[in-house]
């Protein structure tokens, strides 16, 4: 192939994801798998912070990156659209994303956001997509958070927010869930940090699509295709590498099973959301 001469070394940037499982996933087997499949050298860099990866992809230093949805949007605006999403994650139950939820104590009687007037709604931390940006953006379409709630503090983390609700420090908190049985707050119940039946979700966001595996736009199409093909088939060709990179665990009720092809449209609303946040900041 033509591209192999120009791209004898392919560089990947990987962000440890929003999902706690992704954070201890290991990519060495995947790297070996790709080298075997593509027949070129592959270098993978796992970063804890997306600013570095965005700069690297913007400066043509790396070719591909696994982004979260919000960091994809940042990369998209940061590079003036010079990135192209290829594939995203597909779970066992067919879902391709997760949801931001607002939870309250079940015994509080709140049923919707409207019931929370004058109450305290805690967001997770300012850098969180599901714990801040998405719920804030969506709630702001309905009400003005600053005046509607008595306070919108940051709790510091998803866990702290949920625990705060359970203890009554906050009236409500924003966090995430994959579905009704799996999510941040459900896992806290599993770990015994809060009681069963104390926490109830009252609001759910539109699906936050899982972040895309992204290519730099200005590389040869054949290269993109080849890598896309390799990623799409990793679960079949090298199951061990797939399990390692997705942090697969036997007890996981809804593990990732494969990939779906995605395009930029799917993420446009997050780009818009970020633009909105930026405008909010400028106007404040």
């Amino acid at each position: 192939d033509d591209w192999k001469k120009d791209y004898a070394v392919i560089k990947f940037g990987i962000l440890s994801g929003e999902n706690e499982k992704d954070r201890i996933a290991r990519y060495t087997p995947f790297e070996e798998y790709l080298e075997k499949e593509l027949g070129v050298e592959v270098e993978i860099f796992t970063a804890g912070n997306y600013d570095g990866v965005i700069q690297a992809i913007g400066a043509d230093q790396i070719e591909f990156a696994f982004f979260g949805s919000s960091s994809y949007a940042a990369a998209y605006t940061g590079t003036d659209g010079k990135v192209e999403p290829l594939v995203s994650r597909l779970r066992q139950d067919g879902s391709t994303g997760y949801y931001s939820v607002v939870v309250t104590r079940c015994d509080s009687g709140y049923k919707s956001i409207r019931d929370l007037e004058g109450k305290v709604l805690a967001f997770a931390d300012p850098d969180s997509t599901s714990g801040y940006a998405v719920p804030y953006f969506n709630i702001a379409q309905e009400v003005d958070p600053k005046s509607f709630f008595s306070a919108v503090p940051f709790s510091g983390s998803h866990e702290a927010g949920v625990a705060g609700v359970a203890q009554g420090t906050f009236d409500a908190a924003a966090t995430w869930q994959n579905n009704e049985v799996d999510g941040r707050w459900q896992r806290m119940i599993d770990k015994g940090m809060i009681e069963q039946g104390v926490i109830c979700p009252i609001w759910e966001s539109p699906e936050i699509t899982s972040g895309p595996f992204t290519a730099r736009a200005n590389i040869p199409q054949e290269l993109k295709d080849a890598v896309k093909e390799a990623v799409m088939t990793v679960q079949d060709k090298d199951e061990a590498a797939f399990k390692a990179m997705t942090g697969w665990k036997a007890e996981d009720p809804n593990p990732q099973t494969g990939w779906i092809e995605v395009n930029h449209e799917r993420y446009q609303w997050i780009v818009d959301m970020r633009a909105w946040l930026k405008k909010q900041r400028r106007s404040s």
Partner: protein
Amino acid sequence: MPGHADMTALADSPISTPILQFEQDYADLRRRTRITWLVGSAVFLALFTFSAWLGDFFKVTQITLPDGSRDWRWIIPAGIPRLGEFIAKTIPDLHWATFGADFAEWFWRWKVWAKLLVETILIAFMATVFGVIGGFLLSFPAARNLAPNKWVMWICRRYLEIARTVPDLVWALIFVFCFSVGPMAGVLAIGLHATGALGKLYSEVNENIDMRPLEGVKAAGGTWFDQIRYGAVPQVLPNIISYTLLRFEINVRSSSIIGYVGAGGLGQEIREALSLQEYTDLSALFLIIFVTVMVIDFASEKLRHRVIGLEKGPST
């Protein structure tokens, strides 16, 4: 050189035994020194080369050239011309004609920044106070020459070690979890880290003090606390002030990083600016931090010189 005359005289003058002994010792010493140096330098060079290799210093890789083509290059010379790239993105568009407006545009968020700068300085102030109190109190039992007994010393030293060994960013993450986001977590994280760092520096100062005044206090019937208060504290005070001022500056800078985990201060602003790609904000923030660091550095230099200057007493 007149020395040569003596030199020749030396040839036939009897050489004393101490000199002979010396010549032997000297030869020995020279050999040993040379071996130590050789081994030391070899080990150092090997370590350096190895870590340089690990650090990709010798890496030759394919690089995308400015025109979009790809070529194999040694990574360092290939990258040097591009060093300014990121900085260039942060430089605002300033024109002489519209300087005022451009400048206002550059510092458009100055009200927020001024508030955050104050917050940053206050965080640093409080963290320094906590660090000084903790480090100061622990530095005496942690100093070898002052510790009342071995166990107290051991405990204090380990505590200080843990406090300073864990990066302040990690403390910040932990405290953010415990106390939620906001300056409080930042204060505690930096304060704890500063306790460890200052405690170590202070206890080193303590180990270098003159023990005679303490003996003087002891001989007059003073307790251990009296010895510390009257004998040690006045001696170490100038050093403590100087380390504290240095630390304050470091704390100002780290509270701007700590903001990165949502613990308040200018760091939060840096993070937001980065994540929203408001690059010119970064250079404005840089300027703000630079001026602050410079002012603190300058003031503390003056203050330190005054404190040290007082030490010298009347000049002779």
